[in-house]
Symmetry: C2
Subunit: 398 residues, 2 copies
């Protein structure tokens, strides 16, 4: 039998994260690669109680097919939670519950753009967005990021240029808070400019905010969706970082006409999101456990963030620059020397450490001397040892 | 803000099932519309015990991100289960665990075909396949179904014609056992012909088998994947009908090169399937509960199947023909009179009964005088009363 594969999947590159996770799961390897939360943060006792309660009270609904856009009481709880935590005002009718926010990204690429269309991302940007948009056959134009997130002064020029070329972008995708992979946060002034540009050129703005609640230092910056003029922003959120990732729950907030299109594509993708996970999340929010849990997570992750930043200061200051993020899950390291972090991976694995090379977060092969380091999964000791092993690897490869 | 939607979603029609479910959820309506299993069949006690066990023993893994293709011990259990129940021999490396088999259908449409390509389905066929393939921009060519499933003698002619037109089909999609929507089963002779034609013209064969285990009468017919020459058949299965649908678990078996492509698209779609659901399924199979549960389900559904068939005989024999399926979840009714079952829906709802009109299962607007009736969800009394209400509706609309 001959299988002829579609052009779309032939265009996609195998994810480096997948390969890395495989390598990184070997015994003895310290993985700074994946984007996994620490199992220490899983609220096992509370979830066990909730699961028992759900099975006792709502098993007929929690084990049955649910509505395509999500179970209504869950959508209502999400709407209340977002008002409390992010100052977002939205009706439950504007929320779709997804199988993780990765699915939200895929849906967006299907609903707002056709294969061959152009979208704007940050440069570098989240590897899962690259994967979702590539699968939809989209071209990505990256706007470089500095310590204050996307350089919005370059955005307007890029949009003008693309319009002149007949390639008006279909949307702008940003992770403004504790960006993945860099960890940088965009100040409120740039967020205002983003809203203005989006309105001026009629290009929808998509805000991905998986880490917003994980702030370890400094004052919160309002999310764009909550700001004046941000009502039309499409907003992606997730339970993976404030509950657990294994229950695969994310959500997208969008204006009415977009919701109708989400409904259609979600029906085709998987009919509906896991009902049981949704009922668990319902209780998790309603009982207020989520708010206590986030505080615990922050205590755990603050120490780890300090550990990796201090280890970088002690071991890497002389040969690299790195972000010192106020929150989130990642540090972005750019090595001064002419090191290719992708080529260096086999040596790193040999030395017992894994990371994701900068190239994975671009579509144009740049960011060769950078790497993304995760600090939420490993222990403080592993983070410290991992940085030493990275330094050793750089020394050996130079 | 102006949202420009993609051509793909504009090409998709809102699902009639979704609308119907909405209407059918009004109080007093007897729904023969959806494809839902009965909550009576949910193994609540066993699942509650399993969930507690999983949270105690494996919460660190069950709440964490899993591998993209599925958690290995679960894939291994599925492989063992399929050998036992369907006589299918496959390695766990050839299994991907999906968020329901709907996701398997969507993946297929992405991996094996490009937008604009043609695929072959049964006529009528499963509404979710129409939805998934439409979302991928595929053209569907339907081969009519009779009491013995797809008329395979028409298949070869169709393939030859399509090849001449430069539209060689990318795959053939069939539900050979207790077909959705008709309930018909394809005998082994036709299955052999399907394998031959697939090989002769190098067109991959896709076998969807959600209902295979739900046989109430007669001797099992082997699934195509288990037959001589069927090793390359792509096979879709689900836990929705033998465990519960709310946990959203399905799986696809495919040859090695297809698995690589599945891995890529699954990564883009939602990273991985719900880990918790997978660990629950692992215990559910390993403890052998699935086999006992299927026997219980069959007892419950056999009575319901008899109830709806008898009610049809008593109330509808004079004006319609209908299938008398040996298993599955659906009866297909074709009204003799020149009735348009889609136009009749509002009157049916007014009379307190819901069904899915035949048109939903085609892409060419045929099957206008047919309807699909589900018999697994309602009680025996509801099924009997529902058929009376349908007869009343036909009388009033004639």
């Amino acid at each position: 039998m001959k299988y002829n594969f579609s052009d779309v999947v032939n265009r996609m590159k195998p994810s480096e994260i997948r390969e890395l996770n495989k390598m990184a799961s070997s015994p003895g390897i310290i993985s700074l690669g994946g984007g996994m939360p620490s199992p220490e943060t899983f609220p096992i006792k509370e979830l066990t109680e909730i699961m028992e309660f759900v099975m006792k009270k709502n098993s007929d609904l929690a084990l049955q097919y649910g509505n395509t856009l999500g179970i209504n009481p869950v959508r209502e709880q999400i709407s209340k939670m977002l008002e409390k935590t992010e100052g977002i005002k939205c009706n439950m009718e504007n929320i779709i519950v997804n199988s993780g926010s990765q699915q939200g990204l895929y849906e967006l690429g299907t609903v707002l753009a056709n294969p061959g269309d152009t979208v704007i991302t940050e440069e570098p940007t989240y590897v899962g967005a690259v994967s979702a948009f590539s699968a939809n056959g989209l071209k990505m134009e990256g706007i470089p990021v500095d310590h204050n997130g996307m350089k919005v002064e370059l955005l307007e020029e890029k949009i003008k240029k693309l319009i002149l070329e007949g390639r008006k972008p279909r949307f702008i995708y940003v992770i403004p808070t504790f960006q993945n992979p860099t960890g940088y946060t965009m100040p409120v002034e740039r967020r205002k400019v983003l809203i203005e540009i989006s309105k001026k050129y009629d290009v929808p703005l998509v805000e991905d905010n998986p880490y917003g609640q994980l702030r370890y230092y400094g004052e919160p910056v309002p999310c764009i969706r909550s700001m004046t003029g941000g009502e039309d922003v499409i907003y992606l959120g997730t339970f993976s970082k404030v509950m657990t990732p294994g229950l695969r729950l994310g959500y997208t907030i969008a204006p009415e006409p977009v919701m109708e299109k989400f409904n259609l594509i979600k029906q085709a993708l998987d009919l509906a999101t896991n009902s049981f996970s949704q009922y668990v999340a319902y209780e998790y929010i309603k009982r207020g456990i989520i708010y206590k849990q986030v505080e615990l997570n922050k205590q755990i992750y603050r120490k780890k963030r300090d550990a990796i930043v201090n280890a970088l200061k002690a071991n890497m200051s002389d040969i690299s620059t790195f972000s010192e993020p106020d929150g989130g899950m990642f540090v972005w390291v750019t090595v001064d020397k002419n090191v290719d972090t992708k080529q260096m991976i086999p040596l790193a694995i040999k030395n017992g450490v894994a990371y994701v090379s900068g190239q994975a977060f671009t579509t144009n092969g740049t960011q060769k001397s950078s790497m993304r380091l995760n600090f939420t999964f490993g222990s403080v000791e592993q983070l410290e040892e991992g940085i030493k092993r990275i330094r050793k690897t750089i020394n050996e490869s130079a």
